[in-house]
């Protein structure tokens, strides 16, 4: 049976208040974010507005500001905040023994079988 969670490496590879990317062959790229508190979140690396690479935005609190047009996206729900409307897929993440695990099903959603 395939594992439910994928180990994508140690937490210390993520800069604080920063993000890194995780390409998925045949699927959409994932952005992994690190907040000031050391929390880790993952979203599809595409702003719901004009598909801006969210991984390149400024992270503050539990939000990221898209680098293209400053939409603010919640890292927790993937929803656009403020006046903007839209949602980006959230990929479940957990930390175990200092390693980042992401939900396989959500990560591979949309990959051609």
């Amino acid at each position: 049976m395939l594992p439910e969670w994928l180990d994508i490496g140690p937490v210390d590879q993520l800069p604080a208040l920063g993000a890194r990317t995780l390409p998925v062959r045949g699927g959409r790229e994932i952005a992994i974010f690190h907040t000031a508190n050391g929390e880790v979140y993952a979203l599809a690396n595409q702003c719901p507005h004009k598909a801006g690479p969210l991984s390149q935005g400024i992270v503050h609190d539990t939000t990221v500001t898209c680098p293209l047009h400053n939409w603010r996206i919640s890292l927790v729900t993937g929803e656009a905040l403020g006046e903007d409307k839209g949602c980006v897929p959230v990929i479940p993440v957990k930390i175990d023994g200092g390693r980042i695990l992401i939900g396989r099903a959500a990560a591979l959603a949309g990959v051609a079988a």
């Binding site: 490496g9 800069p15 390409p23 508190n37 400024i58 503050h60 293209l68």
Partner: protein, 827 residues
């Protein structure tokens, strides 16, 4: 009839507390045997810190002495850990070979310190901070001292609660302590960034060295510890290394016995394991997916366990935990979830003069988390509200001020009403000693705006923390006549300060780090936002050249990547071409790069440079390396900085040229490149009044004429086209350069972040700038000197550093997922 035999494995806090709870319910129910691995009676492990610090002796931290075991007929077996359980015949075997049979068995095996398996972790002098033996080793190291009578050096790996307590104890014992913490802030599980930063500053003030983001590569030494080497190459000499990076449940015995294990021993709501006759309690268990490393949940568990074994089963439903730092003299408290998230709102209070930071996280009128630094008096009150899930809608406005204030009735729940209730002689502004009566007097006397009150009473004019109080007084006194508007905008919604206030206070209060500015200036969010962070980063960079360490995460992506992000997420790259001049070698390098990295377009920019489009983030360092190899450096086309100096060919080629405009353009660019500014900055030098370089729509323009150089400022293309204002005329090239440097520095020091020169010049007025640059020769010279001083630190090529491997991770993927059969590849 013989009583059933209850065996407890573990003579620590959980095991003995469980026994106490059972005895309290029915002292005659069981015959009890306790096995312990250590030679001691039951002691309070959380008091190891005071023991190390010398505040307590071992006798002070004993919970139950030998008499307690005797009085309760408990058979205590010390220094003989249980090594096996036979569940079929219900026996345990100890290391000595002793076998005992049980009717009920309680596992209270606690947890083991986590030892990072770096090279050298087994050297003599590497200890954990878990039991009496560890404390003994630490005390011996402290007593031994260093060579030549110097204090001994210790490294503590781990900046969590345990590590900081160990470091504190060792400092008090006279050792020179360095704390290595892999995360960017201390105690990141309990504290947010702001509180972690304050804690770090306080510990450093006590003489400890705190290195965050410090990743241990190895512990070195011949036979015994001599020091620690970090992955970045730094070496910290030490005779003692304390590993305090965490604990993990000790499940060895349970696993060997075949019990269900997750991260800890699985237990149900009655602390029963997968075997009905075996219970488990304390740090070794996993309940409902959670493992606890604090003492409070242990008490909850022991109560439920005793209920299950003796009285009516009550059931354990998990614990909400809070943490108080036990390092004496530093008050830190945290409880619940302070990581925020959807629907959560932060209420933040920063009182710089008292060194207080408080943050309460509220979700749907319920408190879900709290972090307190400097004043933890209300910690228990917040924790109680949190545990009770109390509705705080009524007291929400006053919640952050604490229990005394918030519970003071309806009057104080409304901040305006609370201010209205103050006596006339109550102090409003602590910095300038201004009373409420004086502020109200000023308002009734005609000072109807915040600025007016500031200028006639001084209230809120210094640190500004009373600004909200003054605004309340304006609102109360003027009623509807108070429009609530301030004349200058605040930096962003995180603060009530204007850009000008922030810039002035950074200098006055000598603020040198972003968290320090946020604390001292009472920011109302924990780590700012995407508007204020880049602004603060710039203001600090400008105020403290060479001293302030740039915060990469507070820069917009273009500056973080040293390239321009484009709509498809690729980047474009502009190498510098001094004065717009190039040569075959540079052109060849650009052509090669464009081909090699499959650039989709090469375009001439408006500033006479070549822009290479469609470069992938991961290729950027290689592109820069190739361009560097041809002698080209970053064009800063992405930065809030000097972009280009546009030129015409001037007297060297042109029939009409009066001066060497190309040469002056190159000199100007070589002087000004790399200079970070509030916004992008463009310069042009035209060789004659025909103005082919379009110098009159640049931030700084030079028009060469027969008799010298006409200088003009504040122009730009952009949405609102603006031609320059004439500043002055000078006669020599050197003067043109000096005035240029002075103007840039004035702009750097006084404009608001993201203001280009045009709106800034319009706001402050041309006369003001002429007065500072043209009329005040000494002032101009000082500005020029400050500009050159900051350039010493700013003029280095960011591309070269990246091409050499700095921050390489920014350009790489973390890993790659390839759907089955090969599922994952590490970067």
């Amino acid at each position: 009839m013989t009583k059933p035999h209850l065996i407890v494995v573990g003579n620590g806090m959980a095991g003995c507390r469980a026994v106490e709870e059972i005895l309290a319910r029915d002292p005659a129910r069981y015959r009890i045997t306790i096995f312990g691995a250590e030679p001691h009676v039951n002691y309070n492990r959380i008091m190891l810190s005071p023991l190390l610090a010398g505040d307590k002796a071992f006798d002070d931290i004993v919970i139950n002495d030998l008499a307690w075991y005797a009085d309760n007929n408990i058979d205590l077996v010390t220094s003989d850990p249980v090594v096996a359980i036979d569940r079929k015949i219900q026996t345990v075997t100890a290391r000595s070979g002793r076998v005992e049979s049980y009717d009920k068995l309680i596992l209270a095996t606690g947890s083991d310190p986590f030892i990072i398996p770096v090279p050298g972790h087994d050297l003599q002098g590497v200890v954990s901070f878990r039991d009496m033996d560890d404390v003994g080793a630490m005390l011996r190291a402290a007593d031994a001292g260093g060579p030549d009578g110097e204090p001994g050096r210790a490294v503590v790996i781990g900046g969590g609660l345990l590590g900081l307590e160990a470091a504190h104890g060792l400092s008090l014992r006279g050792m020179k302590v360095t704390v290595l913490h892999i995360m960017p802030t201390l105690m990141e599980r309990q504290l947010d960034e702001a509180a972690g930063w304050l804690l770090k500053a306080a510990l450093e003030a006590r003489g400890q060295t705190i290195l965050t983001g410090a990743d241990t590569a190895e512990i070195y030494g011949q036979g015994k510890v001599e020091g620690v080497r970090l992955k970045d190459g730094r070496e910290i000499p030490a005779a003692l290394v304390v590993m305090a990076v965490g604990i993990r449940p000790n499940v060895k015995l349970a696993r060997a016995a075949g019990l269900a294990i997750g991260r800890g021993v699985h237990v149900d709501d009655h602390l029963v394991t997968s075997d009905a006759n075996i219970l488990a309690v304390g740090e070794c268990v996993e309940h409902n997916g959670l493992v606890y490393g604090l003492v409070a949940p242990l008490w909850d568990m022991c109560r439920s366990l005793a209920d299950a074994l003796v009285a009516t089963p009550s059931g354990y439903s998990g614990s909400v935990t809070s943490t108080k730092l036990k390092v004496s003299g530093i008050d830190v408290f945290s409880a619940g979830d302070f990581s925020g998230g959807e629907g959560c709102e932060d209420i933040v209070l920063r009182d710089a003069s008292r060194g207080v930071y408080k943050r309460v996280v509220v979700k749907g009128d319920r408190v879900v988390g709290a972090v307190l630094y400097g004043d933890t008096q209300d910690g228990n009150w917040y924790f109680d509200l949190l545990k009770r899930q109390a509705d705080v809608a009524e007291i929400r406005d006053a919640l952050i001020f604490g229990q005394a204030f918030a519970s003071g009735g309806a009057a104080s729940a409304n901040p305006n009403a609370a201010v209205a209730a103050l006596a006339d002689d109550a102090e409003i502004c602590g910095c300038n000693g201004v009373s409420k009566g004086k502020v109200v007097g000023a308002i009734t006397g005609g000072a109807v705006t915040l600025d007016a009150v500031r200028s006639c009473t001084k209230a809120s004019a210094s640190c500004g923390s009373c600004t909200n109080l003054v605004e309340s007084l304006l609102a109360i006194t003027l009623g509807d006549a108070f429009d609530g508007e301030r004349s200058a905008p605040t930096v962003c919604k995180c603060t009530s300060f204007t850009h000008e206030d922030v810039r002035r206070l950074i200098l006055e209060k000598q603020l040198k780090a972003i968290p320090q500015v946020m604390q001292e200036l009472h920011w109302t969010t924990p780590d700012g936002c995407s508007s204020c962070r880049p602004a603060l980063n710039y203001y600090l960079l400008c105020a403290w050249p060479g001293e302030f360490v740039d915060d990469n995460q507070s820069r917009f992506v273009n500056e973080r990547m040293h390239a321009n992000i484009q709509k498809d997420g690729t980047y474009s790259v502009v190498p510098r071409m001094w004065g717009g001049v190039t040569n075959p070698k540079e052109l060849r390098a650009i052509a090669d790069v464009a081909e090699k990295y499959e650039a989709r377009m090469v375009k001439v920019t408006g500033g006479q440079r070549l822009d290479i489009f469609g470069i992938k983030k991961e290729d950027l360092p290689a592109v820069w390396a190739d361009l560097n190899a041809a002698g080209m450096v970053s064009g800063h086309a992405y930065a809030k900085a000097l972009r280009t100096v546009k030129t015409c060919v001037g007297s060297e080629w042109c029939r009409f040229g009066t001066q060497d405009s190309t040469g002056l353009g190159i000199k100007t660019e070589q002087m000004t490149w790399g200079s970070f500014m509030p916004h992008k900055f463009k310069i042009a030098v035209s060789g004659c009044p025909r103005n082919c370089a379009e110098a009159t729509i640049k931030d700084f323009g030079v028009i060469c004429v027969d008799s010298g150089y006409e200088l003009s400022i504040g122009g730009n293309g952009g949405i609102k086209l603006r031609g320059t204002d004439f500043l002055c005329k000078v006669t020599t090239e050197q003067e043109a350069l000096d005035y240029c440097a002075a103007f840039i520095q004035l702009y750097r020091e006084e404009a608001r972040y993201l203001d280009r020169t045009a709106p800034w010049v319009e706001r402050v007025g041309l006369e003001y700038i002429k007065q500072r640059i043209v009329e005040d020769a000494a002032g101009r010279a000082a500005l020029t000197a400050r500009f050159h001083q900051s350039q010493v630190f700013l003029q280095d090529d960011p591309w070269a550093k990246r091409a050499a491997g700095e921050d390489y991770k920014l350009h790489q993927h973390l890993a790659e997922i390839r759907p089955a059969p090969r599922t994952l590849e590490m970067a």
